[in-house]
């Protein structure tokens, strides 16, 4: 058992994956001597060499495209995209090539490629450094999309993503990189694509992932003081979505709010609202509400705390839902 930040837990998970399988490679910009702009790969090139931890030319499409070729040759590349705003030069290779080879080849080609993407806001950054583009990837058949919210998940989920024979988009909540938690390296991790009840409650379910899980847990504590029992479900996997855990929770609480930083329209919240409507129409006491980023481009950082879902907006939504 160790106490690690989320960033160090990712580093430890990557290290363990590199040790476990000689076919695992890391590739990305500045991930070698520097250890990445967030230092997630710090020390790994020193310990595993330049052939396992590969500094890439500054070209995202090239990083993904060559990872596809490496995977065809039997490797398990883990690509680092420096910030989510820079994934789009590589988007075509992800959506058009990486996601489709298994389908097109009738399973003859498996591409166990992981694309690590730091995402989300709240760090006072300049433009293109605070966005939440998960919906684009969730909307693409052939990809799996996961995101961790705390150090233990970071440690295990990155290893599980690397072990997966499917391409996995791995979103890392950059705002939580420095937050600490317990990591039990001897534990048996839960399945990669299973949601987790982060806090039990009776009155309402908050559905969240990545950076917003912590916000929702804080909201649940505040609400408890006000006499409301709030359940928090950490989705962990956005594609596929574990509807079993989610419907189990909402069947009990009969109310649900989705909280995400991504823009509202066609965000994952829309999918969750639709599925809960289809599955629990007669059970729920209120429509599924959404607390999300607005449908504007991510704004200048001095106003981002008002743009992002925050405790106040979520508590308002809880009041609204309970009012039905």
């Amino acid at each position: 058992m160790s106490t690690l930040t989320l960033g160090r837990a990712l580093n430890a998970g990557l290290r363990r994956a590199l040790e476990a399988d000689p076919k695992v490679l890391l590739a990305g910009q500045d991930i070698g001597a520097l250890g990445g702009v967030f230092r997630i790969t710090e020390g790994l090139q020193r310990d595993f060499g330049e052939d396992r931890v590969i500094d890439s030319p500054l070209a995202e499409s090239g990083i993904i495209g060559t990872a596809i070729g490496l995977a065809m040759r039997g490797y398990r590349p883990v690509c680092e995209i420096q910030f989510e705003g820079f994934v789009f030069p590589g988007f075509d290779q992800i959506v058009t090539q990486l996601a489709k080879f298994h389908f097109r080849s009738n399973g003859a080609i498996r591409l166990p490629v992981v694309v690590r993407i730091p995402y989300g806001g709240g760090i006072g950054a300049i433009e293109h450094h605070s966005e939440s583009p998960e919906s684009y990837f969730v909307h693409t058949p052939g990809l799996k999309v996961v995101t961790c919210s705390h150090p233990a998940d970071a440690y295990w989920m990155i290893q599980q993503a690397i072990a997966s024979d499917d391409p996995v988009i791995f979103f890392e909540p950059k705002r939580r990189y420095h937050e600490k938690g317990e990591v039990d390296e001897a534990a048996s991790p839960m399945p990669l694509h299973q949601a987790r009840v982060a806090r039990l409650g009776r009155d309402i379910t908050l559905l969240a992932w990545g950076p917003q899980v912590k916000t929702c847990l804080e909201v649940a504590s505040i609400a408890e003081e006000e006499g409301r029992s709030v359940e928090v479900v950490d989705l962990r996997s956005l594609s596929p979505i574990d509807m079993v855990t989610i419907t189990d929770s909402v069947k009990r609480t009969k109310r649900a709010i989705v909280v995400h930083e991504a823009h509202r329209t066609l965000g994952v919240g829309a999918e969750l609202a639709a599925r809960l409507g289809e599955e629990l129409f007669y059970t729920m006491e209120a429509p599924v509400l959404r607390v999300t980023g607005y449908d504007t481009p991510y704004p200048w950082s001095r106003v981002e705390e008002d743009w992002l879902p925050n405790a106040d907006r979520i508590l308002d939504a809880i009041d609204e839902s309970m009012g039905y």
């Binding site: 490679l25 052939d51 890439s56 030319p57 070209a59 499409s61 090239g62 993904i64 495209g65 060559t66 990872a67 596809i68 070729g69 490496l70 995977a71 065809m72 040759r73 039997g74 490797y75 030069p89 075509d92 290779q93 058009t96 090539q97 489709k100 080879f101 298994h102 389908f103 097109r104 080849s105 009738n106 399973g107 003859a108 080609i109 498996r110 166990p112 058949p141 052939g142 799996k144 997966s164 024979d165 499917d166 694509h193 594609s239 596929p240 979505i241 509807m243 079993v244």
Partner: protein
């Protein structure tokens, strides 16, 4: 008068070719010539083998076009005119090499042993490739222009990491693809890692309706130097020169001497695809010029001139072509349409609950008509 320089700006490089700019070992007139740096080692029987490859590739292509015209294929991209570029390149491959095609390399696919039934699935609408690339060392066709050059480079990096001896990658793309970001990134990655990949550009002069000078204002092979590896132009309609140049490039890649770029200067004698109409954008005299540079005729002329081509051999080739044509048509008509229900199982290595549910939904809907 337009502000931008238009594509009609007549540079006409196909008219004003400087022969010293291009490796050639067999002239359009069928005359064998020597080159100071490249030679073709082979006897008349070997050359007849290449002739046979080219003639069968042309026949396959003619069948593809005819099948499309008969409504049996949704689309067909003809290779007519590019037989030497493809047969010559394929002849330079060794057993451990791997090929990443674009989508017009039917001649290379035949040489690599991909069954015609597999190749036709994509165009008939009964599949999206389907063959196992590892079995044939020939990747699936890639329709998004240039994407495969990065896959090829990554695969070549894998060969390097494996310490694979005597293996290299041959990546095909066209003149239009030379403008794509991915292709330029592939050059950068290949050069940076010194990867054993050879970029084989079939410059067939036209990217659908746009002439090569819309893509580049210098000869394409000269671009390679800027990326840090050798580039060379070869007469793409000269099967001997193509094989010689490709063997050189692949050999140096296999020896660990890094990437190379080959510009095979050729011509798409037909349409871009069966949906295209080249009469709208190019002149008849250009077609006429290139008909005089036919890749097959010059080999026949040369072999005949050295008394190595007799009528019995040609008659036998004709008979092989007829049989092969019948095989292609039979293979096409015999393709089964896979049930849509199988699509759900192909998406992931590890199936998801959601896709299982959607499959069940589809199957029960489909069965409701039974």
């Amino acid at each position: 008068m337009s502000a931008l320089v238009g594509v009609s700006d007549p540079t006409d490089r196909w008219r004003s070719l400087d022969p010293s700019d291009m490796v050639q070992l067999l002239t359009p007139e069928g005359e064998r010539v020597e080159h100071p740096d490249f030679s073709w080692q082979g006897d008349a029987a070997t050359l007849r083998g290449l002739l046979r490859d080219m003639v069968l590739a042309r026949r396959f292509d003619a069948e593809g076009t005819a099948l499309q015209r008969h409504g049996e294929l949704g689309l067909w991209p003809p290779l007519l005119g590019q037989e030497a570029a493809q047969a010559g390149a394929a002849a330079a491959l060794r057993p451990n090499d791997f090929v990443f095609p674009s989508y017009r390399e039917h001649g290379v696919a035949l040489a690599m042993g991909v069954p015609v039934s597999e190749m036709l699935k994509l165009w008939r609408g009964t599949g999206q490739g389907d063959w196992n690339p590892q079995t044939f060392r020939f990747n699936l066709y890639t329709l998004v222009i240039g994407s495969q050059t990065l896959h090829a480079t990554g695969y070549a990096m894998g060969l390097q990491l494996d310490g694979a001896e005597g293996a290299a990658v041959l990546a095909f793309h066209g003149d239009g693809a030379s403008s794509q970001g991915d292709v330029n990134e592939a050059y950068v990655f290949a050069a940076s890692y010194h990867a054993p990949v050879v970029f084989f550009c079939q410059n067939n002069q036209w990217a659908i309706s746009e002439p090569t000078h819309r893509q580049t204002r210098i000869p394409l092979y000269q671009r390679a130097r800027g990326f840090g590896f050798p580039g060379i132009r070869v007469d793409g309609n000269d099967v001997l020169a193509v094989q010689a140049v490709t063997e050189w490039a692949m050999a140096r890649a296999r020896r660990g001497e890094g990437p190379a770029f080959i510009e095979a200067f050729t011509y798409r004698m037909g349409a871009h695809t069966t949906s295209d109409d080249p009469t709208k954008y190019r002149l008849a005299d250009e077609d006429e010029h290139w008909r005089g540079r036919d890749p097959i005729e010059r080999v026949k002329t040369y072999l005949a001139s050295i008394d190595e081509l007799d009528q019995a051999w040609l008659d036998d080739l004709d008979a092989q072509c007829e049989d092969f044509g019948a095989d292609v048509r039979r293979a096409c008509h015999g393709l089964e349409v896979p049930d849509l229900a199988t699509a759900f199982d192909r998406v992931h290595a590890e199936q998801t609950h959601e896709l299982r549910a959607q499959k069940e939904q589809y199957v029960s809907w489909a069965e409701s008509f039974a």
